[in-house]
Every structure is written in structure tokens, then in C-alpha cells.
């Protein structure tokens, strides 16, 4: 086995920290449930890729990044973006294509980004984020900065060339980057194992000289503790690290995908491993008061409900935005041709 499995999380838990993580996971879940509702209501205009069931990866990884650290994400990036600190109202506006969205409504779900919190973008092209992340880490090296770059991608992305090119590059330059493979078992309607030769993500990373760890991606504590260790090693100058998080995509590929290619039983069984329920149980046994858990849940729902309501009444962007930020030189307007 290429990747060393992270040791079982120590049981002397920091309940306060974990409660914070629990809140973030709930906010992500609430955001995406609202986004799906927004799709029904035709408020969300383009495709969305929910990360329901994968929240522990987003939170466990991003909780160990400073605001000044950098994150590159995927088409399934709502959770990563919220966990990195983006404002949920700005994000909901972006999904609704409104002014005040993180990208002024020009990107939508698949191109969500929030540079001020170090989130340099989701990406509509699978695997493309890996190269951009490597370049961001290369810039950190050139500037002798202390930032760490985290790059999250799916198990489908490991079959694209950029996976090899990017990891090799990071290895050659010993870049400060954490590669996180969010292995949810699927690439759209395809089971990734059927299209993946060899032992998979971690073995490939190891073959490129990048030390790898594998964790249960639905175990928030395991992801958090392992990511903390790896980020520390990277910040200490240890070079790139690779983290494989095994999880499961509880929804369809997109908000519109009923996912008939898998059985109800499979999905029902997977729901038993819902990382939010698991963390809730852990916190309860750790003695967190039921009231505090309930409060976290209602707070999350309240935040997202408010964002939804506000985004819904937000104006669409002014038309000038269509021709803004294309480029400095040259006039993009037809009249100029």
C-alpha cells in the first residue's frame, strides 16, 4: 500500500474546535440544500455539483489553512470555498448570477472564487486547477513566502495529464503544496475504479516522490488531524504532500442528475456514513450539550435562509460588466471591430 494510513484520531478531542468545524459543515450542507432548492426555483441558472456527504474533507483541510494560504478547487467547490472563509451571501448571489456575487455573477458555481480569502478559483476543466495551484506554490517559492497552497481535486482528475505534470513539477521544485484527492468513487456517471489502473491516487503520488497519507474522508477528526500534520510539514519546508480522502457523493453528479446508475440501497448505506451525523454523534458523546448542537444547526439554517432571501432580491449585474475585465488593451465591443 503506497500511502500510510493516518493513525486513528487521538481521542482527547478539542470539543470547542470540533464544534466550530461542525458549524462549518452545517453551513456547507445548508448552503447546498438551498442551492438545490434554488435550482428547482430557477434561481440557480447553471449546473451545480453538490458536495453533500463530502463536507468533512472541505472543513478538515481548510481548517488548517490560514486566510493568507491559497486554495484551488473544482467544479464541486462550494464546500471548499465556504470552509476557506468565503461569504455565503456573495456565493449565493454568484449562483443566482447577481451583482454582489463573488465574481459579480460572471462565473457562477463552476467558477466561484474569492481572492480575498485566498480562494483562487473553482474550475470547469477537470484537473486544470492542479497546474494553477502548482504555479501559485511556485510563486510562493519565488517570493520566499510562507504561504501553503492547497489543491483539492477528484478521483477522476488523476487520470488526466495535469495530475502527472503538476505533481512532478511540485516534486522537482519541492513546492509548498498540499494535494488533496477527494475520492468520492465517481466521475460523473462513471465509477472511477473502473477507469483507473493500478493502486490509485496515493500510489501515483508516491511514484512521483510525494509522501502520501490516506484517511477516511468522512471522519472529520481524521481529516483535520492529518491535514494539520501535513500542512505543518509543508510549512516547515518539507515540500509537497498528498492526502487521499475516501468519501462518497451522496447526491447525483449535478443537481439535475437522479443518478440511476447506482442502487437506492448503495446510497442509503452511504447515508449511514454521513460525516455530519458522525461528527454530531462524536460531539454528543464528547459531552457537547444537545442545545449547543441544535443551536449550531439553527444558526446555519438561519444564515443560509437569509442569504437565499437576500440573493433572490439582489439585482442582476449592470450590463457594462459584460465588457469589463476582458483585457486592458483592445476593445471587446462589436462596434469597435
Amino acid at each position: 500500500m503506497a500511502a500510510k494510513d493516518a493513525r486513528p484520531p487521538s481521542r482527547n478531542l478539542d470539543a470547542a474546535r470540533l464544534l466550530g468545524h461542525y458549524r462549518t459543515m452545517l453551513r456547507i450542507r445548508a448552503f447546498e440544500e438551498a442551492a438545490l432548492e434554488g435550482l428547482e426555483d430557477k434561481l440557480v441558472l447553471g449546473a451545480i455539483h453538490p458536495s453533500i456527504g463530502q463536507e468533512a474533507v472541505a472543513v478538515g483541510v481548510c481548517a488548517n489553512l490560514a486566510r493568507s494560504d491559497i486554495l484551488l478547487s473544482t467544479h464541486r467547490g462550494h464546500g471548499h470555498t465556504i470552509a476557506k472563509g468565503a461569504d455565503t451571501l456573495a456565493m449565493m448571489r454568484e449562483l443566482f448570477g447577481r451583482e454582489g456575487g463573488t465574481c459579480h455573477g460572471k462565473g457562477g458555481s463552476m467558477h466561484i472564487a474569492d481572492f480575498k480569502v485566498g480562494m483562487l478559483g473553482a474550475n470547469g476543466v477537470v484537473g486544470a486547477n492542479i497546474l494553477i495551484a502548482v504555479g501559485a506554490a511556485h510563486a510562493v517559492r519565488l517570493r520566499k513566502g510562507k504561504e501553503v497552497v492547497a489543491c483539492i481535486f477528484g478521483d477522476g482528475a488523476i487520470n488526466r495529464g495535469p495530475f502527472l505534470e503538476g505533481l512532478n513539477w511540485a516534486g522537482v521544485w519541492k513546492l509548498p503544496i498540499l494535494f488533496v484527492c477527494e475520492d468520492n468513487g465517481f466521475a460523473a456517471t462513471t465509477r472511477t475504479h473502473a477507469m483507473t489502473a493500478g493502486e490509485g491516487p496515493a500510489a501515483r503520488a508516491e511514484s512521483l516522490g510525494i509522501a502520501s497519507s490516506a484517511v477516511d474522508g468522512n471522519d472529520l477528526v481524521a481529516v483535520d488531524e492529518t491535514a494539520r500534520r501535513l500542512v505543518a510539514e509543508i510549512r516547515g519546508g518539507g515540500g509537497p504532500r498528498f492526502l487521499l480522502c475516501k468519501t462518497y457523493r451522496l447526491t447525483g453528479h449535478t443537481g439535475a442528475d437522479p443518478a440511476p446508475y447506482r442502487t437506492k440501497d448503495e446510497v442509503a448505506a452511504a447515508w449511514k456514513g454521513d460525516p455530519i451525523a458522525r461528527l454530531r454523534d462524536l460531539l454528543a458523546t464528547a459531552g457537547v450539550a444537545p442545545g449547543d448542537l441544535a443551536a449550531a444547526e439553527s444558526a446555519a439554517r438561519a444564515e443560509i435562509d437569509a442569504a437565499y432571501a437576500e440573493a433572490k432580491v439582489s439585482p442582476f449585474p449592470p450590463l457594462e460588466r459584460a465588457f469589463a475585465d476582458v483585457q486592458d488593451v483592445g476593445d471587446p465591443r462589436r462596434e469597435a471591430f
Binding site: G46, G97, L319, R334
Partner: protein, 324 residues
């Protein structure tokens, strides 16, 4: 005559060609579940997973492997899902597929069809909306097709599969559900022949793919104003039907080219330039192009519409040209 959707027409074309020729096979992501747009629905059930092959997310390999498989005498249909992702396989298409036969002095051929769904599809944003047909017309070795109707999507796709050249086959995402009559039987459309969709006397409007319907809508409006527009659906961009276009312009004295792609450097420039070169003295008005501004495509619908070519713009431009 059957009424079929544009998607179903392509599905039938593939099924018929695969029945006819055992060397034809299709490869791409998610094909085993019918493809992202359902355009492969049911095919794996009939032809099995060897001939309707799933692929890893590796566009370069899908394309590059198709080149090798084509050189070996099979006839791959390559599904690239969105033409935007074809950019992950451009070396394989342009440096390999298009040039192999020539570089090797005719020792081998690369008979394959690359399906690249193009175009704007509400709020798909900058990386899922592009129309880059102009690029492919510039590459020696490639055939470039862009059907606008179910009938042509069946007839041209069948012709593309039978063609021994690498064919870039551009279906428009917005047209998948469009219904239309499709001739029964072994319906083939000749590559390189345009279709005069509407005969007219006052102006020649040349277009292809979804924009053809925009032009037709404009022509209907203009007809009410007694402006009689001839609408030509090019269908085949390389080779393209110069004669039909030049004859039409000889009759109307006016040319407007309308396409969804960015106007600057778009294929409309080739048509406008060719007509200006060849029919200058027959022109009653300057040639004109109507394409998209040179800006990426936004997610917000109102911004997205700013780079859309509309029937209103087409009609307004036509009025100016005919001096109405």
C-alpha cells in the same frame, strides 16, 4: 419521414453506421450511460461496452488513441463532451490526426469523427459555451461540419463516419431537443454542399449551426416588411460551398454572414473576405459580418445575452444593408 430530435437523429446515425460497418466504434466519458446529453442512449445495450466504450477523463488519450486506432483500420467516433474540453486534446487532433496521412506520404489514413458539442447553453459560462469552428477550418487535413437540423445531423453524421478524413463534427447543445423531419432509410448528406433554407432576392444571409434558426426568424420578420432574404445554411465549413454562396450573392448583391462565435477571427471573416475578393463588382452594399463581441461568455443571463447574436440584430443589420 420521421419526426426526430436533433439528438435522436445523431443516435440513429451512429446505430445505423455501426450496424453497417463493424469497424465503427465510439469512445468517450460516460457513454455507457448514454452520454451527457443522452445522444448515445441505448447504444451500449445494442453494441456492448467494447464498441460503445467508456473512457477515463483523459481527452488527450481519447483523441490520441483514436488516431492510433484509426491508423489500424478501425473507425472511431470520439466524444469530447463539450468543445471546450477538446482544447485538452488539440495536439492529438491538430498535430497528429490532421497531419499523419500527409507526413507519412499517404501510408496511412485517420478516418475518425470527433464530436464536439458547441455553443451557448443558458448560463454555462466561459468554459462550457465556446464555438471554435473557425480554428478547425484553418487546419489542413480536417473536415469541419456543423449541422443545424435533425435531418442534417443524421445525414451529415453518417457521411462523416464514412469519410476517410478526420472530421470535426460540431453539434450545438441548444439544438439537442429540436424536432424536425428526417427522411427515412439510409439518409446521407453530401459533405461540402450548403442548403438554401429560404430563397430570397434582396440579400444573402449565410450561417450555420444554431444561428441558422436565428437568421430564419429574422427573415420571417423581414418578409413582413417586404425584405426578401435568402438564407443559406452552410452545414459544411470545410469544404464549404463557395459556389452556392457566390451564385446567391450574384443574384442578391448583398452578403451578411451570421455566426455565434466571436466575430474577430471567426469563420465569417473567411466567407466575407472570399465574397469581397470574388464578387466585389456584384455587390450593391459592403459585405457584413455579425458575430459575437470579443469577450468571454458570462454566467449571468443578462450578461450572457450581451454576447449573443439575435434575430433582432440580424434583422436590423439587414435593413441597413438593403437601405430600408
Amino acid at each position: 419521414m420521421d419526426k426526430l430530435t436533433y439528438a435522436e437523429a445523431s443516435r440513429q446515425a451512429i446505430a445505423e453506421e455501426m450496424r453497417r460497418d463493424a469497424t465503427v466504434w465510439a469512445v468517450g466519458e460516460d457513454l455507457g450511460r448514454g452520454g451527457v446529453f443522452g445522444q448515445y442512449k441505448g447504444l451500449v445495450e445494442e453494441f456492448g461496452p467494447e464498441r460503445i466504450a467508456d473512457a477515463p477523463i483523459s481527452e488527450a488519450c481519447i483523441m490520441g488513441a483514436a488516431v492510433g486506432a484509426a491508423m489500424m483500420g478501425t473507425r472511431p467516433i470520439v466524444e469530447l463532451r463539450f468543445s471546450d474540453f477538446a482544447l485538452c486534446a488539440i495536439d492529438e487532433l491538430v498535430n497528429q490526426a490532421a497531419k499523419a496521412r500527409y507526413m507519412f506520404g499517404g501510408q496511412g489514413r485517420v478516418p475518425l469523427v470527433v464530436r464536439e458539442p458547441i455553443g451557448m447553453w443558458r448560463s454555462s459560462a466561459a468554459q462550457h459555451s465556446q464555438s471554435l469552428e473557425g480554428w478547425y477550418t484553418h487546419i489542413p487535413g480536417l473536415v469541419v461540419l456543423a449541422p443545424a437540423t435533425p435531418a442534417d445531423n443524421k445525414g451529415l453524421l453518417k457521411a462523416a463516419i464514412r469519410c476517410d478524413d478526420p472530421v470535426v463534427y460540431l453539434e450545438h447543445k441548444h439544438l439537442w431537443p429540436l424536432e424536425g423531419d428526417v427522411p427515412d432509410g439510409d439518409h446521407l448528406v453530401e459533405i461540402g454542399k450548403a442548403r438554401v433554407v429560404r430563397a430570397g432576392q434582396d440579400i444573402t444571409i449565410v450561417s450555420w449551426s444554431a444561428a441558422v434558426h436565428t437568421c430564419l426568424a429574422a427573415a420571417e420578420t423581414l418578409a413582413k416588411e417586404r425584405i426578401d432574404a435568402e438564407v443559406i445554411d452552410l452545414r459544411s465549413l470545410w469544404p464549404w460551398d463557395k459556389m452556392t454562396v457566390l451564385e446567391s450573392v450574384a443574384k442578391t448583391g448583398r452578403l451578411l454572414v451570421v455566426h455565434e462565435a466571436v466575430q474577430v477571427g471567426g469563420f465569417g471573416a473567411e466567407i466575407a473576405a472570399t465574397v469581397a475578393e470574388r464578387a466585389h463588382f456584384a455587390l450593391k452594399a459592403p459585405v457584413k459580418r455579425l458575430g459575437a463581441p470579443r469577450a468571454p461568455i458570462s454566467y449571468a443571463p443578462n450578461l450572457e445575452d450581451q454576447v449573443r447574436v439575435t434575430a433582432e440584430q440580424t434583422a436590423a443589420t439587414t435593413r441597413k444593408m438593403v437601405g430600408a
